[in-house]
C-alpha cells in the first residue's frame, strides 16, 4: 500500500494542474489551479515541474491517511491543517509517517490550499491535462471529472525529493488588501462615465455566488451603453457585466465564448489573489497598462528559475 488514502472529502477538492490548452476552439474550458502562484510554490518546494498535478483544497473538509512515509509540500491558504493533531503551516515541505492523518479543517486565512507530492500526483491526462472539470466530465483521478471522494488513493511516481525551503520574505502576499489589477478591455469606452469611475473607485464585495467558473461582485450597478454584442472568446480573468450591472470575474472553468460586455481582464497575479477571497471579502479594482502587467508577470516567473 502506498500514497495517501482519502478518508473524507468534499466536491470542492480537486486534482488540478495548469489546465488544458490548444482545444479552446472546441468549447473545452481551461480548468487548472485558480491560485496558480500557490500551485507553483507547492511544486517548487519539492523540486517538481511547476505545473505538476496538485490537490486544490477549497475551504477544507479533507482528511487523508498516509499509506507510506513521504515528503509532501503545502502552499496557499491556511485551512487549519494538522498532522496527527499537530498544526501544519503552509509554504513548506513536511514529512509524513505511514499511518499519520493529514486534516484540513476550515479557512483561517485565504480560501484555497495546494498540496504537492514528489513529481506530482498520478493520473492519466485527458486531452493533455489532469485538471478536474466536473461540469465537463474531464480529468481528475479517473479522467471522469469527479472530485476526490472517500476511498480514493492518491499516488505519485517520483522518488523522495530534496526539499527546498522558502524564506519568509519570499512568501507571496495573496491578500486582497491592494486593488486587483485589470487590463482594460475593448468595450471600456462603452460604459457610462460614472460606471467607469465606480468600477475603479468603489469597494466591491465578493458574493456567495463564487465558484471555479466565476466570482460575482456586489456593488454599484455598472451601465453599459454600447450595442448588444455577438458572442466572442473570453479570456481568463475577464470582468463581464451582465444586464443587472453586477460584474462577474471569469475564472478557469468559464465558458469559452460569451456575449456580455467586459471592463477588461485581471492580471495573472490578481487572479491568484482573487482565488483566495472568501465570500463577503471586500476588494477594489485598479486599471493597469498591458505592458506594465506583462513586465510584472515576467519578473514574477523569473523568481522560480
Amino acid at each position: 500500500m502506498s500514497g495517501l488514502l482519502v478518508e473524507r472529502s468534499t466536491p470542492l477538492i480537486l486534482l488540478q494542474d495548469s489546465g488544458r490548452f490548444g482545444i479552446r476552439q472546441l468549447g473545452v474550458t481551461q480548468g487548472g489551479s485558480t491560485d496558480w502562484i500557490s500551485m507553483f510554490w507547492a511544486n517548487w518546494l519539492l523540486g517538481n515541474p511547476l505545473e505538476a498535478a496538485v490537490i486544490e483544497i477549497t475551504l477544507g473538509g479533507l482528511s487523508l491517511i498516509a499509506q507510506q512515509d513521504a515528503c509532501l509540500a503545502l502552499a496557499g491558504a491556511d485551512l487549519g491543517a494538522s498532522l496527527d493533531g499537530q498544526p501544519l503551516q503552509p509554504w513548506r515541505s513536511f514529512l509524513v509517517r505511514r499511518g499519520q492523518r493529514l486534516v484540513f479543517s476550515q479557512p483561517v486565512q485565504g480560501a484555497r490550499a495546494y498540496l504537492a507530492a514528489p513529481g506530482g500526483f498520478d493520473a492519466t491526462p485527458v486531452m493533455g491535462s489532469k485538471a478536474t472539470v466536473c461540469r465537463e466530465g474531464l480529468g481528475g483521478l479517473d479522467g471522469s471529472g469527479r472530485a476526490l471522494t472517500a476511498g480514493d488513493r492518491l499516488g505519485w511516481s517520483a522518488p523522495p525529493p530534496a526539499p527546498r525551503e522558502l524564506e519568509a520574505t519570499q512568501i507571496p502576499d495573496l491578500s486582497s488588501a491592494k486593488p486587483l489589477e485589470t487590463v482594460l478591455g475593448a468595450q471600456i469606452a462603452d460604459f457610462a462615465g460614472q460606471s467607469l469611475f465606480d468600477a475603479f473607485n468603489s469597494p466591491w464585495q465578493v458574493d456567495s455566488r463564487a465558484d471555479r467558473m466565476g466570482v460575482r461582485l456586489l456593488g454599484p450597478a455598472l451601465h453599459y451603453q454600447g450595442t448588444a454584442l455577438i458572442s466572442e472568446g473570453i479570456p481568463l480573468g475577464a470582468i463581464q457585466v451582465p444586464p443587472d450591472g453586477q460584474p462577474i470575474i471569469l475564472l478557469n472553468d468559464r465558458q469559452t465564448i460569451g456575449g456580455y460586455p467586459r471592463l477588461g481582464a485581471l492580471t495573472p497575479r490578481s487572479l491568484a489573489r482573487l482565488a483566495q477571497c472568501l465570500p463577503g471579502a471586500e476588494l477594489r479594482l485598479s486599471p493597469v497598462v498591458q505592458e506594465v502587467a506583462h513586465g510584472q508577470h515576467l519578473r514574477m516567473l523569473a523568481q522560480w528559475h
Binding site: F21, G22, I23, R24, Q25, L26, G27, V28, T29, V126, M127, R135, E136, G137, L138, G143, V183, L184, G185, A186, I230, S231, E232, G233, I234, P235, L236, G237, A238, Q255, T256, I257, G258, R262, G264, A265, T267, P268, Q290, E291, A293, H294, H297, L298, L301
Partner: protein, 234 residues
Amino acid sequence: MKIRIEIVAVDCLMVRLFDTIDEAHMPWLLAASRRLHECFGQGLIDLVPSYTTLMVHYDLRQLQVSKARGLIAQALDNLQPDAGGSGRSHSLPTWYDPCVGPELKLLAHRSGLSINEVIERHSGHEYQVFALGFVPGFAFMGLVEEILASPRLNTPRKRVAAGSVGIAERQTAAYPQASPGGWNLIGRTPVRLFDHALDGYSLLQPGDRVRFEAVSHDEFIRLGGDDTPLEAHP
C-alpha cells in the same frame, strides 16, 4: 472588411473581422485562423474563433504585444477566403418527435406551420458551424429560416438530454452531453458529438456544414439513441 485588433487581457488580443453574423464570413474566418496558426507557431497558446472574431491567446514568455500585433497583421495581409467551401460535411440522423422535442408543437403554433412542415424546413437546410462553446463540442449552427426562429425559453431546463436538437433565435444546435439548457427542443440525434477518446475530440468543428436527417423511431433506436422522454416545459 475592416480588421481591428484589440487588447482584451495581458496575453490575449481580439481580432475583429466582422460586425454581423453571416454564413459568408466563415471562409474568411477559417482562412484567418489557419494563417494565424502558421504565423504564431509555438507562440500561440489558444485561438478561439467565434462568429465575427478570433481571440489570440499568445505566450507572454515569447512575445511582446507589439510583436503579437505584428504577427496578426502579417497573418491577415492579403487574406483570401478558403475556396470551395471549408470544413467537412455531416449528416446528423434526428428523430423529430414531441416526446424528445417538446417545443415542436410550440414552434408549429408560432409559425403557423404543421409539425411535419417544421421538420421538413429544419431538415431541409444545410447549416454552417459558426463556433463551438457552452460545453465541449456544442456547435452553434445557422442560419435557421426566419419562420422557425424562436427566442430561448424564459426559464432554462435544469437538464436537457444528450443529443437533444434545439433552436434559439436563428441558430440550431445539438447538445453533446446532458446539461442545463434553454433552447427550444425539437428532436434528438443518437450521434456521439464529443468524446475525448476520439481523434479530434469533437465531431463538429468550426466551419463544418451540417444537415439534420429525419429518421424514424426504429432507426433512431437502431443507431443507439436513447428515447427517454423529456417533460414538456411548463
